[in-house]
């Protein structure tokens, strides 16, 4: 009897919690099914997608195909767009880091008049809607002939990422114990040496969160790319190409589903492999303009 009791009480506890399990089950289904439906559909032949629901895919005879993926990669510009997304996101992630780290270092460990006011202004800029900048920057890039080029969008994303990057790194670098700096100064190190040998290595976790956030932000961005890159297919990232597909194909679900899934592959990989950094970065950066 004594041996059975834990199982029995566990069962009772499970039953008492059954409303909770039911609600959570429903919630998980609602969160899983839309994405699952898209994925299953992307692997079905055109005729089946358009005439039967995706849940029929598991009724025999099973008919799956990678034709849709081949088509969007080779003919609907998704291969090129994947490359473009990387070309946009990688430099736009790297470029702001050192700029922000310099500023964050000065804000944390140097005294100068106006320092706090300046920092508060940067926090204010954090939430300025980027819509406020679109027209002047579009005109500026136009006059420099940088619209429709990667260079223009790199610089724009660098600027949009800076307030958050400075804020995040300042909080981290400002938290480094003072003793470390004092002993380094006593050893005769100057600011540049301290920055590269002490501050940067310590700040690696913060820089990792920041980089993941910035990379995902740029990767998933539609608006900035639409405005500064225009519709040119040679430079369009995946978000722009997919939204063009939506408009031109209308009901071409066999291509849309595959295209959308291709754009999700990298974020999903990042999410599952670096979940902790990823969530930390997203939470900290969620108010970015």
């Amino acid at each position: 009897m004594r041996r059975k009791r834990p199982t029995a009480s566990r069962a009772v506890r499970f039953l008492r919690k059954s409303p909770i399990h039911l609600i959570l089950l429903a919630v998980c289904v609602i969160w899983l099914v839309p994405t699952l439906g898209l994925f299953v559909s992307s692997l079905r032949p055109r005729a089946l997608i358009l005439n039967t629901g995706w849940w029929n895919a598991f009724n025999p005879p099973l008919r799956f195909t990678i034709e849709n993926y081949m088509h969007v990669i080779l003919q609907a510009n998704m291969g090129r767009s994947f490359f473009n997304s990387l070309m946009i996101a990688i430099p736009a992630t790297v470029m702001p880091i050192l700029v922000a780290a310099f500023a964050a270092y000065a804000f944390s460990w140097m005294r100068f008049p106006g320092r706090d006011v300046l920092f508060l202004m940067i926090i204010g800029l954090l939430v300025v809607p980027l819509q406020m900048t679109l027209i002047p920057i579009l005109r500026l890039l136009n006059s420099l002939r940088l619209t429709g080029t990667f260079v223009g969008i790199w610089v724009a994303h660098t600027a949009y990422g800076l307030p958050f990057a400075i804020y995040l790194l300042r909080n981290f670098i400002g938290g480094i114990p003072e003793d470390l700096f004092e002993s380094a100064f006593l050893d005769g190190a100057n600011h540049v040496q301290i920055f590269y040998r002490l501050v940067l290595p310590i700040a690696v976790p913060a820089i990792a969160s920041l980089s993941i956030f910035q990379f995902m932000w740029v990767w998933n961005d539609l608006l900035v790319a639409l405005i500064y890159l225009g519709g040119t297919p040679e430079v369009a990232p995946m978000t722009v190409t997919i939204s063009n597909l939506v408009n031109s194909y209308g009901g071409g679900w066999e291509f849309l589903t595959a295209a959308a899934f291709i754009s999700m592959v990298l974020p999903l990989l990042v999410f599952f492999s670096l979940q902790r950094y990823f969530i930390r970065g997203i939470l900290a950066g969620s108010i970015k303009g």
Partner: protein
């Protein structure tokens, strides 16, 4: 073209950090030659200079410029006073845009916070907490564009009698045989709600993760003591947990408000603003590229900024304080 952009990207990835390193190295060399008090005064400004320069050119100047442009005509050649703003608040189409943003603001925020809180509370009580939370947070990882495609497929509509391929219509017609399949995105009575649901689906995970962390911070002793005194789960939640996590709920709410005001991608991909679903950011895009009315587009952007200013001030206060602590 591919080769050229690859070379350019590699140059940017290595060249920009290298250039900045060289810059700061030269700064230190130069500054070291000055007298000590001058050094101390000049050095900080040279360290923040690259950041300040970029922020001034690409954020500060554009904000001021947009404020000015909003009082000019469509091609920014003539001053027209507050006419753009007057039109926003009188034109029928514009009023629908404002109404839609208000719908988003109220219902998206309310439902996202509530559902996020509910899931945070419930997952706290089960063993598969981490798995459930990861699943619900997942939409935050993908683009709004991909989420838009996912849900456009969910909402797909076929006339009655034809097999439904959209999951929502299929489920409803199976459960309730008398249910008329709906064109969710095209029926003006429901299309805004259909779009808001997509936003909620994306952002609930965000609210959940933050609120869940806050719930775990509620001292166990207080909860245990309340239970000993005979408080039920509901009482524990409303009398203890909720008051303690209230500040976090405020943070989540303001963050959601900042983001929902600027909502663009979902509407752009799913309806492109037709059939009375347009919101401010989409209208601004149309004013820029379809109507070439840069004055009106600027006024709409300013409207977004004005709506966010109170939240911005709260932010400065909150983050400023957090900065002081360190």
């Amino acid at each position: 073209m591919i080769l050229r952009s690859t070379i350019l990207a590699v140059a940017a990835v290595f060249g920009v950090p290298a250039g900045l390193t060289l810059y700061i190295f030269l700064v230190e060399k130069g500054v070291a030659r000055l007298r000590f008090p001058v050094q101390k005064r000049i050095r900080p400004w040279l360290w923040v200079a690259p950041g300040l320069a970029i922020l001034s050119v690409f954020l500060l100047y554009p904000v001021i410029n947009t404020l000015v442009l909003s009082f000019l005509n469509s091609d920014s050649t003539r001053f027209i006073g507050p006419q753009n703003y007057l039109r926003i608040f009188t034109d029928r189409d514009m009023l629908i845009v404002l109404r839609n943003n208000a719908l988003w603001l109220v219902f998206f925020t309310l439902v996202t916070v509530t559902v996020g809180l509910l899931i945070a509370v419930l997952t706290d009580k089960v063993r598969y907490e981490q798995a459930a939370k990861a699943l619900i947070f997942l939409p935050m990882a993908i683009s709004f564009v991909a989420a838009g495609v996912i849900w456009k497929f969910m909402y797909e509509f076929k006339p009655k009698g034809v097999p439904q391929i959209g999951t929502l219509n299929a489920v409803l017609t199976t459960l309730f045989p008398s249910f008329e399949p709906q064109a969710w995105l095209f029926n003006p009575g429901i299309n805004n709600w259909a779009l808001i649901v997509v936003g909620i689906w994306i952002w609930t995970g965000f609210a959940m993760v933050i609120l869940s962390a806050s719930i775990k911070g509620v001292p166990k002793e207080i909860v245990e003591a309340a239970r000993m005194d005979g408080a039920g789960e509901f009482q524990v939640f409303f009398r203890i947990t909720l008051p303690i996590i209230k500040p976090t709920i405020m943070v989540v709410t303001t963050t959601l408000i900042i983001n929902v005001l600027k909502i663009f991608d979902i509407v752009y991909v799913m309806t492109n603003g037709i059939l009375d679903t347009e919101v401010i950011a989409n209208r601004m895009y149309k004013e820029m590229f379809n109507f070439m009315n840069f004055g009106m587009a600027s006024a709409l952007a300013v409207l977004l900024l004005v709506a966010i200013v109170p939240v911005m001030l709260m932010n400065i206060k909150r983050f400023g304080q957090r900065g002081e602590e360190q």
